[in-house]
Symmetry: D3
Subunit: 289 residues, 6 copies
């Protein structure tokens, strides 16, 4: 399924971010484990779900143990994207206990966070099932973890927005305000963007009213972002635009409101909270003794 490939994880990026986390945690100099666990004490351990949710980040957790000691054999039990129930075993580890204990926290820190993102995403995706809308992420990600968090959104069934400021055009309220201050209309703003950015990029613009949406459409915007617009007005825009531009809704999206928004007929619903405020999913590591 090609869709899966779009936000595949680059192994080199994963290695870099995991390596930094292991150093941050002093995992190579774990004074407690070094003092208490001899290098030749071997055995099995399991990562176990302590809450229900969606699994994401297994390759990242795996990388943490591999970087500490390539003698640890790691066998995923549940696939990425699996629905977890409390008590499910997720991952099996086999080998020396010492690196398993030294890497536990870093591995879980990644796995819990990414599973938290995937879980929050999946809940929204399920809430709008049957509509044509798709859940998309935003740039409100954790600094340093954007690639991983976007991947977790994807695992959760969401769609990825532009990666960053350099690979997509999104004319936001502040851009328009600054332009208005120089007496430029929305039409002029869209034209200027069109003329100036690479021809490979679409022009997306944020509006807050029906009239602005209409002006954006007539100016030739490819995508129109309806920010914090009441559902009834969104519906008017959808009917007016009739597919001549894509429509993205944002602002005030919660598990309660999302279906109503989707049913207006917008194409995309972007939600910052799935990355910036998703609680982590509780998982723990248990030695099999």
């Amino acid at each position: 399924m090609p869709e899966q490939s779009t936000s595949h994880l680059d192994p080199a990026s994963v290695r870099r971010v995991v390596d930094a986390a292991l150093r941050e945690d002093g995992a190579h100099h774990d004074v407690t484990t070094n003092a208490l666990v001899p290098g030749d004490q071997l055995g099995n351990a399991y990562v176990v779900a302590k809450a229900d949710g969606v699994l994401a980040g297994v390759p990242v957790a795996q990388c943490a143990f591999e970087l500490l000691d390539n003698c640890v054999i790691i066998s995923p039990i549940m696939p990425e994207g699996a629905v977890l129930k409390v008590g499910d075993r997720v991952l099996e580890l086999e080998g020396p206990f010492a690196p398993i204990l030294s890497g536990e926290r870093v591995a879980l820190n990644f796995l819990q966070r990414l599973s938290g993102v995937a879980t929050a995403t999946r809940r929204l995706v399920e809430a709008i099932a049957g509509t044509q809308a798709r859940i998309v992420d935003t740039r409100k990600t954790t600094p340093g973890l954007r690639e991983l968090e976007r991947y977790a959104v994807h695992v959760g069934g969401g769609q990825n927005h532009r990666f960053n400021l350099s690979d997509g055009v999104l004319i936001k309220d502040n851009h328009i305000a600054a332009a208005r201050n120089r007496d430029l209309s929305i039409t002029q703003v869209v034209e200027q963007a069109r003329r100036d950015v690479a021809h490979t990029l679409r022009i997306e613009i944020e509006v807050t009213t029906f009239d602005e949406a209409d002006e954006a459409l007539r100016a030739g915007a490819d995508v129109i972002l309806l920010d914090n617009m009441p559902a009834t007005e969104m519906r008017r825009v959808v009917e007016h635009v009739q597919g001549r531009a894509m429509l993205e809704a944002s602002g005030g999206v919660t598990f309660e409101t999302v279906r109503g928004i989707a049913e207006t007929g917008v194409d995309l619903i972007s939600v910052g909270a799935i990355t910036h405020s998703a609680p982590t999913l509780d998982l723990s590591l248990e030695l099999d003794l």
Copy 2:
């Protein structure tokens, strides 16, 4: 006040992590802003609170704008640790709009997350006001952001635990389980740690019952971590130990339960959720036009 100094921010670390975040966000190649906002359009902008909470991370946000363009003048309006009300202006920016817009997201991503951590911490600290207990953080931090998040805990009024595996000894359940498997008692485990780690470190050990706590005490542990212990049993341990070791409570700590735990007489209450699951605090950037 010396306490403030313990988790002061190292400016070089801040610069490194902010620089990485700006690159991640492509902030130096913001195609939208480059197309629409001329370099000589100047003005003022404000970071404004959209929710109540505790402010943390102003120097980090400041660094984001400075790294993009050192012509932007940034003036904090509220100090670190300030209690924010919706609508409060937090920070004033003055200079070219272009770098202000290109840096907005990165600056807010840090400021919202750190303020979220400080807010969650402060709520717990207030909940136990008047007891002798203190709120401490854990190693359940966001990979790559531990130094910043610990700082935010400190701003929120919390205390910092060991930084990582190399600078503190904490003998956890899995260490004890692995040792037991080799027929070592808690006493032997504590002695072995004492003999092996640098003499500058205290020995802390995790226990789950009164009897284990007693054995740890007699083995000479400096700090005893009471994991998921009922309040009544904690209280028994407190009375038994009588200050001969420090006592740290962990597990199942919520805004509801925290005061009851503090009133048992423990010295420290560690809470992972203040770093791993604190929702971000809503802040936004507004141009003054």
Copy 3:
């Protein structure tokens, strides 16, 4: 003029690439200059054109001297994009001769290469003056110097294509061949790309015949790349498409053929040779003694 801003140089990137070049050249350990030129011998020096062309890269050259010794005062005499005649003084340097001599080669290596790119670009831009077409660059740049070379194309009057594989969609012959092998039509390929990539990106596809161009148009491609197509056939495509998609010509573009191509009515003409094979512009550094 906003257009200038699109490929502005990021000072931090410039510093990084120049710093690496200075290390590569051992400029901090110039044994000859160290032996012969005392640190207190001061004076003026000039960068002088030894050939006609277009100037690009002055800030890069400037950075080389600044990184070696911030006592050297560097005053541009000619602006970026200036048309140079043999003998023109381009840049004035004032300060200790030692760092001027140690930095000379690195500064000139950048300045000559970037001016070479700008010169080649300008010649093509002038050759198509009066048509609606624009010259655009490709990904056939020098490894490590893409940002600088794209900037030089911009200085020369060209337009920039996508920066890299992650920020633009271009379905090339090999993609189509691989897809055909799986029995996918051009229509299916375009649809699949549309469904899978971020909604902020346009879909560009490479075709070689009128029929393929027509199929691409009907499949909804935003941009159609006409590869190595005879001018007469290009003209047919232009007439058929009638602005419903942008048209980009590539392949076999020389100073002789470019005007003919532009006159077919295509929107863009991409040329790899302006970055991969532009001869450097001859410049030298002369001490004023």
Copy 4:
């Protein structure tokens, strides 16, 4: 053959520069290929010559594919230094098409540039066949690629000059001018260099007239660089020096003039154009479907 070893490629350097190029090109996030080419579509591909020339850089191209996906099997068909005819297959690739397509441009960018350098060098080497002179490179290389370009010169049959400013002494016109300004003669300059630099380095000095060459010789220079000297005067110098110093010619070297210069009897002819202005050699990647 020991000569081959002098400019052998350091695999770690190659990996570093190729890795940087892959990141620059976003090859790990190729949105087009990710959308269109499933990971399990396998096959063969060939790098094919589209022009005549000399092959250089196969290990560099190889590294690009290996870094993207170590499942791609790369089999060189022609050896480094081989003479290519249009249509020759140079390299065979076997494995998943996706990484082959994502790495194509970076691999070719290196291979075309290095083959371009080798081709230009070989033409000069052949032009002076039968004389005792050797073609040497200069420091006029592409910033960041010196090691690779020197290697390509070597593959083309050229000889390498000093690597950089720290590992060889070359007293150039500007050094002499600066020294003259302090009333130092060529003799004094050579003596000062001799006294000051490590005893492991030879002293090379640039002169432009017979008299200067004679003074340099008497001052004890080990190598004399004859810059832009007419062939007849070079010949006079050669006859006068009689092997007491090495002689290097530079300036105004073209395919037309090089043999005349070599026949004067100089030992070395240095040519900047083989690295700074060699056109790339046209090569392409073709899928075998």
Copy 5:
């Protein structure tokens, strides 16, 4: 034996420091070896002791050859910590001579230095055999090599002090002087430290007289450092403290004085000279031809 694990070498750190040393030494571009030793000349070589001492650093030396060429097979003959006599073979190398010669100096530079540290440590450890005291290192290590030098101290039989300023508390004379200047007593200083640093760290304080030691003890210091104190006074302190705090002696420790210090009954004797002034142990590499 758990003790061995405390200062185990992190392979990734070793690789980093060895890689940097190989680059510093230009080992990948050894012009002499490249010119004279063909890649296919194979054979054996040995590292041989030229002086008596204690061996440390074999894995580091090993890494140097492996990084240069993974065809070299390296077989340790003597284990870490072995007592060497002149003429002992320490390490066997088998493979191409070229990388063996290019890596010789870097490998020996590490091996000689670390063996020098281990040798100096072992001499002190043996001098105090039979007492309860232990030799500990200090922060007076070679910049960049602390981890390796601490490991060598461990191999020599010494104990490791805190790693650095962030993972241990040591209140030194200058801290006390600065505090006194603000009218703080030793008691207040200890209390302030106790309140401010993580509860996982012990409080160590430096004193120079019996009275200060007594005050420190009463203030609750965990460890008391007796700096440059006469043996008779140390003994008084030991008798007075009676195990209520650990005692560390420092200053004026030589091979002659160390036993007398140990016999006072202190727990630890810290010696800077074992890392900052230990002469290297003479070792050489010999080809077996």
Copy 6:
């Protein structure tokens, strides 16, 4: 004086190595100083000599404090190369005590080591005063500190040998042994090196007997290294060579033997011990309270 310039310190290299040392020492997170010394406690401090010797490394020590806090004002009292007596004040610091205390150890670790190297060098230089010989360093330097240690040798009055394997040719015993094994004579070895390495490098070869020295001379070696040769035989070589090659003595050089070696008439005496085994010079930091 131009000689001074040859091993000038590159400020960027110094900053890099000092920055790494500060991180290694956790100087940005000095828990003791942070707890006890408030940021606004200001004053003066001095670096004071506790032993006689030669000062080197002041700019390096200076950099340590600057990197920690650019409010500290650092004023050198004694110049580089000054002869120190016990009690001499070397450096004055003025500003907040906190960064002065946090940076003390790193600054002293560099200053003591480099002054140790300069002191050892100076003693040898003085021992041979009046002869024509010069003391030169070797590649037996501390990994990571070669540039700094060579600089200290220079400050002590020594001369620098080749920097590393890539910028000088030295055919050592093992190279000759490997070549002999392939039936190559010393003459053939020198010729092969001559043919193969850049023409800017001299050929130096190590010999152990008069006959080998003679063969090396006839083979055209530029420099002949007399390894562990008795003084009488060295004198024979000196008389035989008569200035046709430079002569370098090495092996068994001590403060006692060095003058005898110099009086044989050799040009250079290389000594590894000045870098690998020089004891550090005792210096300390004292607050002025």
